[in-house]
């Protein structure tokens, strides 16, 4: 019984840590995007090429980071794949004619710049990155 309680406490602690880890990445959108929140499922669909619009209307275009800790965290938390498998998935779609390759940016500032100036653009950046000119979507 004691061991079970310890396990439960450890699991709870790990969950809290995980939640805090998730909070380091935020999802941003062009101000013209109607939605103010997005489900994890819809986010995953857009960033894996399975969807080109959000519920409630409006086509969206995913914008990626080329590499980095923000990129790795976004993939781990919201996509459930490592970068190699993630890129392989997109190549599979592009070379079989089912999608266009999303743009990849060098850093957070470039993502903010692009998302702010392109209708329908959806991206992800570090929480601490300045993001004037874009809207933040809450994850439900």
């Amino acid at each position: 019984m004691k061991e079970l309680s310890c396990s439960i406490l450890l699991l709870a602690a790990a969950s809290i840590v995980a939640v805090h880890a998730q909070a380091q990445v935020i999802v941003i959108a062009n101000p013209g995007v109607k939605a103010s929140e997005i489900s994890k499922s819809d986010l995953r669909d857009v960033f894996t090429g399975n969807a080109t619009s959000l519920p409630g209307g409006g086509n969206v275009v995913p914008i990626l980071l080329k590499a980095g800790t923000v990129h790795e965290e976004f993939l781990q938390v919201y996509i459930g794949k490592n970068d190699t498998a993630y890129r392989a998935g997109w190549r599979s779609l592009v070379f079989s004619g089912q999608a266009s390759m999303p743009k990849s940016m060098d850093g957070d500032a470039a993502v903010v710049e692009f998302v702010g100036h392109n209708a329908g653009a959806l991206g992800y950046i570090g929480k601490a990155t300045p993001h004037d000119g874009v809207k933040v979507l809450s994850i439900k």
Partner: protein, 416 residues
């Protein structure tokens, strides 16, 4: 042989150097629109201990006649309308033979998440990997499990000229369903395994294909990372060409018109995939059936194949992945041409190929990778079958086809 090998190596290096310059040239401005350009290429080498495999002279030193490349251009015309096309060329021993093809060319209109349309030459959705089987950079293995995705028979299911309807339907807590339905004309290459096999009978096919239709339904289950699905396709194939009756029928040494036609042909496929972190596990089963008349309707050929595989792959880190699979292929056939008798039991090597495979993949740089793969194959599945190729062809195995084959496959590639 050494000179040929040097030519391959030199050609490969020159190609790699040239392409390194171009690898980042991916967008072209066309007025206010952007055209994306992407490409890929692979160079492989296969060595076998016994038997020549996949129409290459792989025994003895081995063969590098295993090359393919593709380049595509796509443009987002509007937010829900995309057009594009891809050219592809390959050489696999005697197959492909550097005859470039239009791989796909289509317009894709996504009306709603649950309804989209594709029209043109479209890759056929059949199982997990039929539409992406040429995208070597997207796969762990140098050769996909041959029991389901035989590289020499890829033309038989690869694409169709017609239309697709597709979409995704969310089922709340029951997950998500993705569907595809299609109908079209399946124009197959005359440089594939089946036309090549027929040349041993004095049959030279110059046109192959016919009406095809089918569908795919996959279920992204509520259990995270678990996907299952089913595909079904029917074909009405008619092949035409010429026949030299002296080769197989003891007739005169002349060329006469030839045709063969399917009376019933279908492919059924069931599949499942599970991904968890860096682990991916796949399993597929394919059943193929063909009932057709041959030699201008004089004889019948009934061919049934069943293939399945179980694979697993694990991404260790950014640059290294390893995996393995067991691939099980069996066939049964009846051909009413006199003298053609299949072995009674599937345990006979001429009626199966059981392949055990391990692979290591190294992603050396952003655009480059190399794979090393070992195959232990029991059976040859085509020693006596006159009408269905399974990787082992008598044309390149004049001493006869031995029961078992071990193979080393090395394949390097790039994509941008």
């Amino acid at each position: 042989m050494k000179r040929k090998l040097s030519r391959y190596v030199a050609g490969g290096i020159l190609t790699a150097l040239t392409l390194s310059i171009c690898l980042h040239a991916q967008e072209i401005k066309l007025g206010s629109k952007t055209v994306q350009v992407h490409g890929f290429g692979t160079q492989g080498f296969i060595h076998t201990n016994d038997n020549n495999w996949l129409t290459m002279k792989t025994s003895n030193i081995g063969s590098g006649a295993f090359t393919d490349a593709g380049v595509n251009m796509t443009m987002q015309v509007r937010s829900n309308l995309r057009i594009g096309g891809q050219g592809y060329d390959r050489r696999l021993g005697q197959l492909g033979d550097w005859h470039p093809q239009l791989d796909w060319a289509l317009a894709d209109y996504r009306f709603r998440p649950w309804l989209g349309f594709r029209g043109g030459k479209v890759k056929t959705v059949l199982g997990l990997y039929n539409d992406s089987q040429d995208v070597d950079s997207a796969h762990t293995f140098a050769l996909l499990p041959q029991s389901v995705y035989s590289i020499d028979m890829r033309d038989a299911t690869l694409s169709h000229i017609g239309g697709d309807v597709y979409g995704t339907i969310k089922a709340q807590r029951y997950g998500k369903f993705c569907y595809t339905g299609y109908v079209g004309d399946q124009i197959q290459s005359t440089h594939g395994g089946y036309p090549y096999l027929l040349t041993v009978h004095g049959i030279y096919i110059n046109k192959t294909g016919g009406l095809t239709y089918g569908g795919d339904l996959r279920w992204q289950m509520p259990v995270k990372g678990l996907l299952t699905g089913v595909s079904y396709e029917e074909n009405h194939v008619r092949n035409t060409g010429e026949l030299n009756p002296s080769v197989a029928l003891g007739g005169p040494n002349v060329l006469v018109p030839y045709w063969e036609q399917s009376r019933s042909q279908f492919t059924k496929q069931y599949y499942a995939e599970y991904t968890h972190g860096n682990l991916r596990v796949d399993s597929e089963y394919r059943r193929f059936w063909r009932d057709f008349t041959i030699f201008d309707g004089q004889f019948l050929a009934l061919i049934g194949t069943h293939g399945w595989y179980q694979s697993a792959a694990y991404q260790v880190n950014k640059w290294f992945e390893f995996g393995g699979y067991y691939s099980h292929f069996g066939e049964d056939w009846i051909v009413t041409v006199p003298g053609q008798v299949e072995a009674a039991s599937e345990s006979d090597p001429s009626r199966h190929i059981y392949d055990k495979v391990v692979t290591a993949r190294f992603d050396m740089y952003t655009h480059w990778y190399v794979k090393a793969e070992g195959h232990l194959m029991g059976g040859n599945a085509a020693g006596n079958n006159p009408m269905y190729p399974d990787g082992f062809y008598t044309q390149v195995n004049l001493q006869g086809i031995k029961p078992n084959t071990n193979a080393l496959v090395v394949r390097a590639g790039f994509s941008f």
